[in-house]
């Protein structure tokens, strides 16, 4: 569907192109997929605005950066591994290998939980070193950015849990893998997207 062609149509005139089958203009992608894309746009706006606010405050003369934490490097590696596991799960949906799907999904989720625990550990480490949120604005942004990202990952885990249940049910009942194909694809897309956002946020934190 070309949106510009669509918007320039004159609905008050008989339109020969409309005659064949009174065509429906919808169903151009699975509904869930479109829903996720719209949601990711909203997520993008949230992180873009936060990033702009961060960039704005970095320009202030009294900006004092946070120290670099090795835990964040480790967490980043875990999140990348989690994304790979999710991708592995998606690949297995194409191979009709339900056990592979299950493994990939399980590893992806467990690694994500490990990532979140790691982020909490990074917070604890910073607090123990005295880098409280109210000491400098850079500190505050560290907690804000990691917190916002963590909440989005937690939301993803809810969808992941539902997908795990579906996959388990199919594996036990020898059901069709088609029933979970879309769920796995959506989870994978979400995981990759949040990985991308984390990489950008992490780079920003390093730049400070």
């Amino acid at each position: 569907m070309n949106i510009f062609d669509e918007l320039t149509k004159k609905p008050w005139l008989a339109d020969p192109s409309q005659i064949e089958g009174v065509p429906v203009q919808s169903y151009f992608m699975p509904t869930g997929k479109l829903g996720l894309r719209v949601f990711l746009i909203v997520v993008t706006v949230i992180f873009t605005l936060t990033t702009i606010a961060y960039g704005d405050r970095m320009l202030f003369a009294n900006w004092t950066p946070m120290p670099e934490s090795w835990v964040l490097w480790l967490n980043t590696a875990i999140l990348i591994a989690s994304g790979i596991a999710m991708q592995w799960s998606k690949v297995n949906t194409k191979r009709d290998n339900i056990l592979g799907v299950r493994e990939g999904l399980a590893y992806g989720g467990v690694l994500t939980i490990a990532f979140l625990i790691g982020q909490l550990y990074a917070w604890q480490q910073m607090v123990e070193l005295g880098y409280y949120a109210n000491i400098t604005t850079a500190n505050a942004f560290f907690y804000l950015l990691t917190g916002l990202h963590g909440i989005h990952m937690l939301g993803g885990l809810v969808a992941w849990g539902r997908s795990m249940l579906k996959v388990r049910k199919i594996a036990q009942s020898n059901g069709s893998i088609n029933e979970v194909r879309l769920s796995i694809e959506l989870c994978t897309t979400y995981w990759h997207y949040l990985l991308l956002i984390w990489l950008i946020m992490f780079t920003l934190l390093l730049l400070s």
Binding site: I3, E6, L7, T8, K9, K10, P11, W12, L13, A14, Q18, I19, E20, G21, V22, P23, V24, Q25, S26, Y27, T31, L34, G35, V38, F39, I41, V42, V45, I46, L49, T50, A53, D56, R57, F60, N62, A133, N134, T136, T137, N139, A140, Y143, L144, L148
Partner: protein, 585 residues
């Protein structure tokens, strides 16, 4: 054969329409309380919005009592006055108008108008309402916490919002921010539904350019809201950090009661940018659905196709896009680079072009139409006048050199109440009078509708026209008490009293409206099916009100656009969107 239809041979059998899985409730609780039916959710949204809106209305009475008759009411203190101002503004803009237009009308009308059985994510839709209700309850609860609700002004500007001396800086502001965050979460769930339903669930033949303008308005407003509300969310979260964790995102270094605060050079301006990046699109989040509703009601009640349909669609989209690059015209008095101000003044003038185009098109739709002066039509005509008035004063305020002297006066209050308060509320009334027969199978009482209309319409003008004058003579806004001020003439005091009396009269008319709704639900005159002889699909279902699944066994097929009125050579003066060409007589 009229334009916009297809030949007989191209009629498509209904059986070819793709069906969708529909959730069926099995108990009273799942049918009427935790309902996944968009129509029930719409009524839940609307009821909640109207109830909290009535709270907002009462708050405005209290404010006006103080302004009209200062030193008269002992229960109104300076602190409580600012709490009324703040809560009135936030309730009306976010919890009433946004929720009613998108959550209420969006839920009821989108599936019906596009020919769908329900929203595409009904469970998420249900969650959306419950999160909204929770947000509203938290907001209302803030009246009852120690210190009361926040009195920071509806824009919640820091540092004032969380600094000593502002009412409600303990529980009040925290509950306000939490409530806003929840509202946005809830709205996002609903908004995803509205957008994806319009894109994915249209019935066969319902192309984008056959959508009624109501759907276009709600659809575009939802996209705006999905992009704009995150700014408010981010601002609310950051301010919560400032308040609860003592961070300094927005809090500058300050001396309070002779002592330096612990704040570390935060940026109040950053908050203003975030707030208005949400705040200005918010005007259109409310206005665009109103534009769409007015277009459909005018066309139906004037028995004439909407003038310039394509232009109307493009204008809605253009206004939506432009609304994101005008936000800083709310911040001229904050101080900004003159080039920056010039840019925002220019974009503000540019956005008036598509808006004016819509006004012309409504007027031209009425021109030589077979105008039925029904209550919905009266409210729509009143809207056109009011939006024109409010829009024109907006052009004044969009200019930096005019805005700066007027910014802190009642002129601004009068302007934005005309454009963003009265105008959309008039459309809400029009919509309720128009679609009430669809929702209930009965008309609202005509006589009390006339009383409601004339008192509301004339009363609003008697409130806000004098208020413009007060602004011109320099009466400041936000003040609890003006006191004796040499530049404010005695007549201004009398005028303030007059405005207060008119506000109370207009308020009383709304009580009549509520009573009319309640009475008409039970004793209203039966309307039958499609009482306005409308073309759009919501009126073409098997039953009135529409049942679960909206359209009986088979979904309708759309054969034409929504504005086939008074077609030459056709006996009836309207052709429904789903009427097969071979059935047209």
């Amino acid at each position: 054969m009229s334009n916009g239809t297809i030949e007989d041979t191209q009629v498509i059998p209904a059986a070819e329409v793709e069906e969708v899985d529909l959730y069926h409730a099995h108990s009273f609780i799942t049918k009427w309380v935790f309902s996944q039916d968009a129509k029930v959710i719409a009524i839940q949204y609307s009821t909640t919005a109207i109830v909290i809106g009535l709270v907002g209305l009462v708050l405005s009475w209290l404010m006006r009592l103080q302004l009209g008759f200062p030193d008269t009411f002992s229960f109104i203190s300076a602190e409580s006055y600012y709490q009324y101002v703040t809560m009135h503004g936030m309730i009306m803009v976010v919890y009433l108008l946004t929720a009613l237009f998108l959550g209420g009308f969006g839920n009821y009308l989108i599936p019906l108008m596009v020919g769908a059985r329900d929203m595409v994510f009904p469970y998420l839709n249900m969650l959306s309402f419950w999160v909204y209700l929770l947000a509203t309850l938290i907001l209302a609860a803030s009246f009852f916490v120690p210190g009361g609700a926040t009195g920071a002004g509806w824009t919640l500007y820091p540092p004032q919002a969380i600094s000593e001396g502002t009412p409600g800086i303990n529980g009040g502001i925290i509950l306000m921010l939490v409530s806003l965050a929840l509202f946005i979460v809830g709205f996002t769930m609903g908004g995803l539904n509205y957008v994806v339903t319009v894109l994915q669930a249209r019935t066969r033949g319902m192309t984008l350019m056959r959508l009624p303008l109501t759907v276009w308005g709600i659809f575009t407003a939802t996209i705006l809201a999905l992009l704009a509300f995150p700014a408010l969310l981010v601002a609310a979260i950051m301010m919560l950090f400032d308040k609860l964790l003592g961070t300094s995102f927005f809090m500058p270094e300050m001396i309070v009661q002779g002592e330096m605060t612990s704040s570390e050079n935060g940026s109040p301006l950053l908050f203003q940018h975030l707030f208005w990046f949400f705040g200005h699109p918010e005007v259109y989040i409310v206005a665009l659905p109103a534009f769409g509703v007015v277009s459909d009601i005018i066309s139906t009640h004037a028995r004439k196709n909407i003038f310039g349909y394509r232009m109307m669609v493009w204008a809605i989209v253009a206004i939506g896009g432009l609304s994101f690059i005008v936000w800083a015209h709310h911040m001229y008095v904050s101080g900004m680079n003159p080039y920056f101000g010039f840019f925002f003044a220019t974009t503000t003038l540019i956005i008036a072009v598509p808006t004016a185009l819509k006004l012309y098109n409504w007027t031209l739709t009425l021109y030589k139409g077979n105008i039925h002066l029904t209550i919905p039509m009266l409210f729509c005509i009143a809207f056109i006048l009011t939006f024109l008035n409010g829009g024109i004063t907006g052009l004044f305020l969009g200019n930096v050199i005019v805005d700066i002297p007027l910014s802190d006066t009642l002129f601004v209050v009068a302007h934005f109440h005309m454009v963003m308060g009265i105008a959309p509320v008039l459309v809400i009334f029009a919509a309720i009078y128009h679609w009430f027969p669809l929702m209930s199978g009965r008309y609202l009482n005509e006589f009390w509708g006339q009383v409601h209309f004339w008192v509301t319409f004339l009363g609003s003008y008697l409130v806000y026209f004098p208020m413009h004058y007060l602004g011109f003579v320099g009466v400041p806004r936000r003040y609890f008490e003006i006191g004796e001020t040499s530049f404010v003439p005695e007549s201004a005091v009398t005028l303030n009293e007059f405005i207060t009396v008119m506000v109370l009269i207009v308020g009383a008319a709304q009580v009549i409206f509520i009573i009319n709704i309640v009475m008409s639900i039970f004793k209203g005159k039966p309307s039958g099916e499609n009482p306005w002889n409308a073309t759009t699909l919501e009126w073409q279902g098997e039953t009135t009100p529409p049942g679960h699944g909206n359209f009986g066994k088979e979904l309708p097929i759309c054969y034409r656009w929504a504005y086939e009125y008074s077609v030459p050579g056709v006996k009836a003066d309207f052709i429904p969107q789903n009427l097969p060409p071979d059935k047209i007589k």
